[in-house]
Every structure is written in C-alpha cells, then in structure tokens.
C-alpha cells in the first residue's frame, strides 16, 4: 500500500489574485491528457459565472489528474484548488492541510504581492513543500531573474531552478508537472490505523445530499462504513466514496493519502463543516485532526426585498445559497423603513458582495442591502455585555459604559511611491502604524492595525484608487479594542430611517454624517413639500440638508398633437416612481440605499 502512495501527489496552487492560478490549472489538466483541447473550457476550474467574470475563485474545485512522468511512471496528481481572497483564509488553510505541497505562482512582472505572502505563510504553517513557478514570462514587462531573487530574499525559497512558464501561452507547463512529481513528497499515513479524514470542502447535491471533499489522512473508508463527524458529533452511513475526475468516479475504497469525495446522505451542510474530521464509529480515532474552526461571520448587513420583490423568494434563495456556503448566516429581521428582511452574516466584504450579486443574478432578485456592520461588544453599566451587529439594536447611550470594536492586522504591499497616500488613508481610517518593511528597493509592506469597521467601509476601493491598483491588501482579525463609538442616525422628513443607521467612531461622525446627508440630498427627488435630511447622534443634529420643494414639473408643449410621445415620457416617469421606497411620506429611490454606503474620497 505504501507503493500506492508513492505515485500520488496532493497539491494546491497558491498565488496572488490575477497571477494566473486558474490558467495554470487549466494547462495542467490539458497537459495530463485528461481532456482533449476541444473539451477544455477556458478556466475549467472556476465554474461559477461570477468567478469567471471577476477572475477570482470563490468555491473550491478539486480534480484528479493522471500524469505519465519522464521517469516512465504514471502519477496521480490531486489538484486541490483554493479560493484566492483574504475573506476565505480558513478555507484556504483547510485545503492546504489536505496537501503535501503547493505550487506558488508568481507573476513575472508584478512579483510578490500581499496575498502571495499570506498564502505562503499559510502553506508553511502546514509544512508544505513549496514549488515556486514564475508565470507570464511572455509579457514584455517580465523580469523573471529579478523575481527569482525576490522569492529567495523575501520568502527564503530556493528559486533559481523554478519553472519559467506562460500559462496563457502554454509554455513550459511540463516543467511544472515534473517539479510537482520530483519536489512534492508523496503522502504518508497508515492505512491500517483508525480512520481520520479531513473535510476540506462540501457542497449540497440534491440526489446525494451533502458531498464532502476529503483527504484520507489515516485508515481506509468505503461504502457501508458507519462514520462519525467528530466536531458535529453526528453519525452517518457512507453511501459512496470516489475520486474526482472530470466528474465524480465512484471507487471501492479510499485509503490513507487519497483525495476524493464522500457521500453519506447528509441532509445539511452544517453537519459536514469544512475542517471537521471524519472517523469510524467502530474503532474511532482518539483525537480529531488539528485546525478545525467554526467560521465566524465578521461582516453583517440587512438584505431586504426591493419593491415588487417577494420576501419568500429571498428566503428561498438564501436557503439555497447556504446549502453550499456554511459561512453564510441569516435570520429574519424587520426594518421600519424597509419592512421584512434578513440580517445576514458574511466572512468579509467580498463574501457579502458575492452573495448580493448571486442573489441578483442567479436568482434574479431585486434586493436592497443595508450598510455593512461588524460585531461590537457593548459593556453596560449594569455589568452585562452585549454583542451587537445591527446598529438599530444598540442600547441607549446612557446605558452604555463603553464599547469595543474588532480590529485587524492589515498588511499592505505597495510600490514605495504610494507609501504617502496609503499612510494618509490608514491614518484617516484610524489605523495604527506598526512598521514598514522593504521587500526590495522600490517595494514595501506596511503593517497596520485597523478597525474592521473602517476596512469594510470601502477601504479596499480607496486603496486601489490611491495606488492605481498597485497596492495589495491582506488582513486577519486581531481581537477587540475599546473605542469611542456612537450611533449615527439619518432622519428624512423628521423620521428616523433605521436602514441608514451606522455605528461610527466619534471623531468620524461629523464627516460621515455630512457625507451621507449630502448624498441623500442628491438622490432624493423633490417632493411637493421641502424634505429635511438630518444626521443625528442621539438628539443632536450634526448635519442637515434640505431637498427643496418641487416648484416645477412640466413637459413642453404638445408637439403638434403628438400625444404618444408625451405618454411614453410620462410612463417612464411612472416606472421610476415605482422603484421608490416610501419612508413616511417621502419617496426614497432604491439607489439611495446603495450610494449612501459607498464612500468617495473627495479629492
């Protein structure tokens, strides 16, 4: 059996966004002869439309490749794809835990970026063998020799013989395969030991129930085995195990070192979380594999049906999404302004945006999302502590002794030219400078401690715009800190619109309040009466604007009896009116709920 492991390699590809991870994966699949070129879709592994459009991988895909190496042996290469964004840190770490090695793709022009490093650290945490690969050598701006030195200097990896490839053009792909076979160690693990299986991904299939993507660490598992999910404490009977070719290929048995899938008529993804350990009820493992974490939502927002949309449709859609996305939380809530909706929890801002877009695109729903929030710790005078993520639920200021907000350690990698603007940005976002390291003469990493509520508030967009897209960001949660926070409310026509309420640092309240009322003034149409818009903290008004009363709403003369054209114009106006939300007696366009949340650096 050890012989069987000898010809297996389990690996991931890690890279910064856009450095060519998915393209390389496609090429590896093509080169292993698993598929003909004709069958290849562009970026085969990213199979959600949204992923393809954004060029990022959200959901894991795993595939088994068969490669006949130059040494004459046939190898099984299990390629375990990883999501490429900071929000999905934990998922990445679990995928890496299923591997013995990782192919590190570095862009020959851009070099090491923040997420390159973040991913390398994750891989090193798992003791993986890292195989550096220099991609995009076909670019005119490619500087592969410098990048090799950079990898050696910054990461400390031997990189002189790193394959120099162009995944896009299919150049030197064979070198990568050879490097995988030669450098990455085969899996180990005793097939006769008690069963230990790592779940590194799962999804819901309407026929098979939850399908777990697994790595057998020790022991063997087959159909009919009674298994136990160690964290979830649930037992199931295995219905099917198999390997992941282009589709799922059932096999008799998976043994230590194998990567594949397992189905056991599990009805709910929450019983089969990523990171959990599967063992057998008979002869169970003494302890679970290390590293399991229950994912926590860091960012929350309300999702409400826009006009004409059914609340139930949104619930159904969220339920369907949750089946494949255990990190998505939701529960019903009610807003005075928006009616019935849901409070949803996300891993981060990107996760939030992705869910919103999927609701709109895949489910064709018309939704309104409220301003994102984080979880605040509220310490009250009576000695109790509350955790609040919806600003509306904040107790009255008189009851609050003090509040804490979550902070993150942020690593920003940037060409040194942009250090000034970035520092200004971080300063502006209440960041605490920790230090700055030079990666090479012209590139640095800035380490900051930043309040999470500043990061989720469009920090990434601001960073990109200030650095023309050159800076990259990576962050991880770093606990809570006490902070002078206040609840900022928006009153439209003297009525509080709860959907606009936010929690904000005292020092930023005035600026944010002003910014919000100014934006609202621009998007709220004139009414027959003047509409005051106010930003308030408690009973104190900190900013005010007025939408003046509508004084004129006329169309020009009837063109020589052209009633049809007039009717079309008025019908269009009527359509526009339908997309409004009635707040008291004020019609608020849906876009108000979106634009107000978007920050724009006014410079």
């Amino acid at each position: 059996m050890i012989d069987r492991q000898k010809y297996v390699r389990n690996f991931s590809i890690i890279a910064h966004i856009d450095h060519g991870k998915s393209t390389l994966a496609d090429r590896l699949i093509e080169k292993t002869g698993f598929l003909t070129q004709r069958e290849m879709h562009e970026q085969l592994l990213d199979n959600m439309d949204l992923e393809r459009e954004r060029g990022i991988t959200i959901k894991l895909q795993t595939i088994r490749l068969v490669y006949k190496a130059k040494d004459g042996n046939e190898y099984i290469l299990n390629l375990i794809d990883t999501p490429g964004h900071v929000d999905f840190h934990y998922e990445v770490s679990r995928s890496l835990a299923a591997c013995e090695g990782a192919v590190l793709v570095v862009d020959a022009a851009q070099g090491i970026e923040a997420q390159t490093l973040a991913n390398v650290y994750l891989a090193l945490d798992q003791d993986l063998e890292i195989v550096p690969v220099i991609n995009k050598i076909d670019l005119p701006s490619a500087r592969p020799e410098e990048i090799k030195n950079e990898i050696e200097d910054v990461i400390g990896l031997e990189a002189q013989d790193a394959p120099m490839i162009s995944a896009k053009e299919g150049i030197n792909i064979e070198d990568v395969l050879e490097a995988i076979v030669k450098k990455i160690p085969p899996p180990s693990g005793d097939p006769e030991a008690p069963l230990k299986v790592l779940v590194f991904d799962s999804y819901y299939d309407s026929y098979k129930g939850v399908v777990a993507y697994i790595r057998v660490k020790e022991g063997r598992v087959k159909k009919g085995d009674v298994i136990k999910m160690m964290a979830a404490s649930k037992t199931f009977e295995v219905a099917e195990v198999g390997v992941l070719g282009l589709g799922q290929l059932p096999v008799e048995e998976l043994t230590a070192g194998d990567v594949g899938y397992l189905a056991a008529s599990i009805k709910d993804v929450k019983y089969c979380r990523v990171g959990d350990t599967i063992t057998k009820v008979n002869n169970p493992a003494k302890e679970a594999l290390p590293g399991y974490k229950k994912v926590i939502s860091m960012v929350y927002c309300g999702i409400y049906p826009a006009d004409g949309e059914d609340f139930n449709n949104i619930r159904d859609a969220l339920e369907k999404l949750q089946v494949n996305d255990a990190a998505l939380l939701f529960e019903p809530e009610t807003s005075v302004a928006l009616g019935f909706g849901f409070r949803c929890g996300f891993l981060g801002l990107l996760h939030l945006e992705i869910i919103q877009e999927r609701l709109e695109r895949e489910f064709d729903l018309n939704i309104i999302a409220t301003s994102p929030s984080v979880i605040y710790n509220i310490y009250k005078h009576d000695g109790t502590m509350l955790q609040i993520q919806n600003p509306t639920n904040l107790p009255s200021p008189t009851e609050i002794k003090y509040m804490e907000e979550p902070v993150v350690n942020a690593n920003i990698m940037t060409p040194s030219d942009y250090v000034g603007p970035i520092m200004e940005l971080c300063q502006n976002r209440r960041g605490l400078f920790i230090n700055m390291e030079y990666i090479e003469k012209t590139r640095v990493i800035l380490h900051y401690k930043l309040p999470l509520n500043e990061v989720i508030y469009d920090f990434f967009d601001a960073l990109k715009s200030k650095t023309r897209g050159y800076a990259s960001l990576d962050y991880e949660l770093a606990g809570y800190q006490e902070s002078k926070l206040v609840k900022l409310d928006i009153l439209i026509n003297n009525e509080l619109v709860d959907a606009f309420s936010i929690v904000v640092h005292e020092d930023k309240a005035y600026e944010r309040g002003r910014n919000m009322v100014e934006k609202l003034k621009d998007v709220i149409p004139r009414h027959m009466f003047a509409v005051p818009i106010q930003a308030t903290i408690g009973s104190k008004i900190i900013a005010r604007e007025t939408v003046r009363a509508l004084r004129k709403d006329v169309l020009s003369k009837c063109y020589g009896g052209d009633i049809t054209r007039k009717k079309k114009l008025l019908e269009k106006q009527k359509e526009g009116k339908k997309r409004m939300r009635l707040v008291g007696s004020v019609e608020v366009p849906q876009e108000a709920f979106l634009t107000v949340l978007k920050f724009d650096e006014k410079k």
Partner: protein, 379 residues
C-alpha cells in the same frame, strides 16, 4: 351631419435652425426639393380623398418649420388642392406660421388671396441680444415690422409665439417684451417656456456651461407674472401656454386638447381620427419618395382604448383653464369613475386640482406641477 375635422400641414423648411429647435425641419431651401415636397403633399392629400367626404374641415393649420420661408405659390397650390377634395367650412380658421425675415406685405397679401385668415408669427422675444443668443435670423425691429406689415396686408387675426426662460433672460426682459408686443394688433399669444431638448445645440451648450438657465423657482415666478400681466391686459389664459382676447382662442389647438379629429399632412405630422392615432415619417426623403409613389408614409395606427382614452381625456382636458366637466368625465370614465375620482380627490387635497360646481381643473400650483398630476392619473 358630417364630423368636424382639423387639418395640420407641416412645412419642414427653415432658413436656419434655431439653437433650441428639435422640430422636424430642413435648411435646404433648394427649389427642386421644395417643389418635390409640395408635389408629395398634394399626393398625400389625394390619398386621403376617400375619407374627405365624411368630414367638414373647420380648421387648417400650416405649421413648420417656417411655412413662410417658401414661395407663396406653394401655399396657394396647397390650399387649392385641399379645396379640391375636402369640404372646407365657410368659417374655417386657416392659420399659417410665419417668421420675421421671411415675410413681407406682398407675401401676406398672397396668403389672403389663397384664403388664409390667421397668422401666427414667431417673435419669441423682442430683445436683440436674446434673439441672437437663441439663433434667430431676425432682430426685434424686423419682428415689429412684420407685425405691422401683416396687419397692413389685411391679417386681422394674429397670434404671436413668445418664449421665456431664455438664457440669461430676466423678469424685466419679459415685462419689456410684453409691453412692446401688446402695442401691436394681436389677439392671441402662445407663451412657451424654453425647454432644452436633447439633440439640440442648446443641450450641448447647457452641458458645457456655455448657457445658463434660471432656477425652477425663477422660471415659475416669471410664468405667473406673465399670466398676471397678460390677464390685466385682456389676454385670458385658456391653456397652460396659451392666451387670447375673448373669442380668439385657437380653434385648431383646442382640437388637440378636446380630443377632436385632426389629420396631419406632411413630414412628421400627427393624426387623430376617430380613436386612432398615427404619424408620418420624420425622414424627408422617405416621405417624398413614398408619396411620389402614391404610398402613404405613416406609422402603424394605434387605436386608443380603455383607460388610455380616460387618461388622454384627463391630461389634455386639464391643460385647458376651464377644465373638465365632472358630468362629462363621469360618462367618459364609466365604471372607472370612482378609481379616478379617488386620485382627483387626493390631488385636490394636495392643492393641485380644484373643483367647482360643475368642473375641475388644475390650480396654479397644479400647472406648475402638471406632470406630477398626469403621472398620478396614469393608472
């Protein structure tokens, strides 16, 4: 008894296009093109000869463009041709639009010989700077000369078109215009607020900040002053933008607002016959080509039915200051009456509509916000 009919004839030629104009017109005054166009018009009249027998025509409006920009013999031929097939009432109101700079005493006399009895003169303003700014071909003196010329030629029924809300035009400019214009023998004024339409030079200029318009508040203030000033001088407002001495309301315009039948002839003209609306092509060459081939060049007709009839009745009727008779509306609205009445009551509460013993109409505020009213009624 035969039904009454209004006829609109479009003459799409101009010496120059004004900077605010988005009407269908061509500055190519090439004699061959003009001749062809009028031949096409005659063909169009021929094609309607079968329906002509069902109607008696009591208003004709020759508009443009600038009908006075073409030789008067075309107008004469046109009138002859209309007379050939259509029964024209003895008291028919026959209006031609004329612009200063394209008309003199002999031409005006020619019109009278052709049977025309009303002239609508495009004055727009009597301020030279403003005339220049909006791209007119004439100055104030020429406009005033035109007014006295046509009077001298024998036109007793004269309307002028004026505009307000012109770039940088102030209230005092408007008052001056009114004072000057009322010195002439006129009995009807159409006073339009400039609206900058897309695809006009003004639209671009506005976007590039080359011209500035007054705020909504200023524009409305001027509008209400106009109503007041003209009212004081005997010109009663009878429609949102139209004013006249008693008995001189434009019969032709009233047809549009009362949903009476009218036939549009010529480029881009609109027709409403029975409950059917249709319009001619806006492509000059297509129009000429089709008509010279003895084919109409018009859109698919749209039969107005159900609630659309009620809505049209409301939004057109409400333009008139005398408003709509409640009882007449009850009949038009039929089973939908209460639905509409509910909205009308709400509009009354908002101060946009007022009811008296027999009628309902827009209030002064309602005129300012007429679109709001019309959109509310669109159900």
């Amino acid at each position: 008894m035969k039904s009454k009919l209004g006829i609109y004839v479009h003459v799409p030629f101009c010496v120059r296009k004004c900077l605010y104009c988005d009407f269908c017109s061509d500055t190519n005054l090439d004699s061959e093109l003009v001749a062809k166009y009028f031949r096409a018009l005659n063909e169009e009249i021929n094609l309607y000869r079968h329906m002509a027998g069902d109607y008696v025509t009591d208003s004709i409006f020759i508009g443009g463009g600038t009908p006075s920009a073409v030789d008067s013999r075309y107008i004469d031929e046109l009138m002859n041709h209309l007379n050939k097939w259509f029964e024209i009432d003895r008291n028919c109101e026959i209006t031609i639009e004329a612009n200063p700079g394209t008309i003199d005493i002999p031409k005006a006399r020619d019109y009278i010989y052709s049977g025309l009895n009303r002239m609508s003169v495009g004055v727009q303003t009597l301020n030279d700077q403003l005339l220049k700014k909006i791209g007119r071909i004439h100055n104030a003196e020429e406009a005033e000369k035109t007014l006295s010329d046509i009077h001298q030629a024998g036109f007793l029924n004269v309307s002028v078109d004026l505009m307000f809300n012109l770039p940088d035009q102030r209230l005092k400019d408007v008052t001056a215009d009114i004072d000057k214009i009322l010195k002439h023998d006129i009995n009807h004024i159409s006073y339009y607020s400039l609206k900058v339409e897309e695809n006009t030079p003004f639209h671009k200029m506005l976007k590039n900040n080359q011209i500035q318009l007054g705020s909504d508040e200023q524009e409305r203030e001027i509008y209400h002053r106009i109503i007041e000033m003209l009212g004081n001088r005997g010109f009663k407002q009878y429609e949102i933008s139209n004013f006249s001495m008693p008995g001189y309301e434009s019969r032709h315009n009233m047809k549009y607002w009362s949903r009476e039948s009218y036939l549009g002839l010529g480029l881009s003209s609109h027709s409403f016959i029975g409950q059917e609306r249709f319009s001619n092509t806006t492509n000059l060459h297509e129009y000429i080509h089709n008509l010279l081939d003895q084919r109409l060049s018009r859109s698919e007709g749209e039969i107005i039915q159900g609630k659309d009839i009620i809505w049209e009745y409301l939004i057109l009727g409400l333009r008139k200051t005398k408003g709509i008779q409640v009882e007449a509306f009850r009949i038009i609205a039929g089973s939908h009456y209460h639905e509409y009445r509910k909205i009308l009551n709400k509009l009354e509460m908002n101060g946009l509509i007022e009811f008296d013993a027999t009628c309902f109409r827009l209030t002064s505020l309602g005129m300012d916000l007429s679109n709001t009213v019309f959109v509310e009624l669109l159900i």
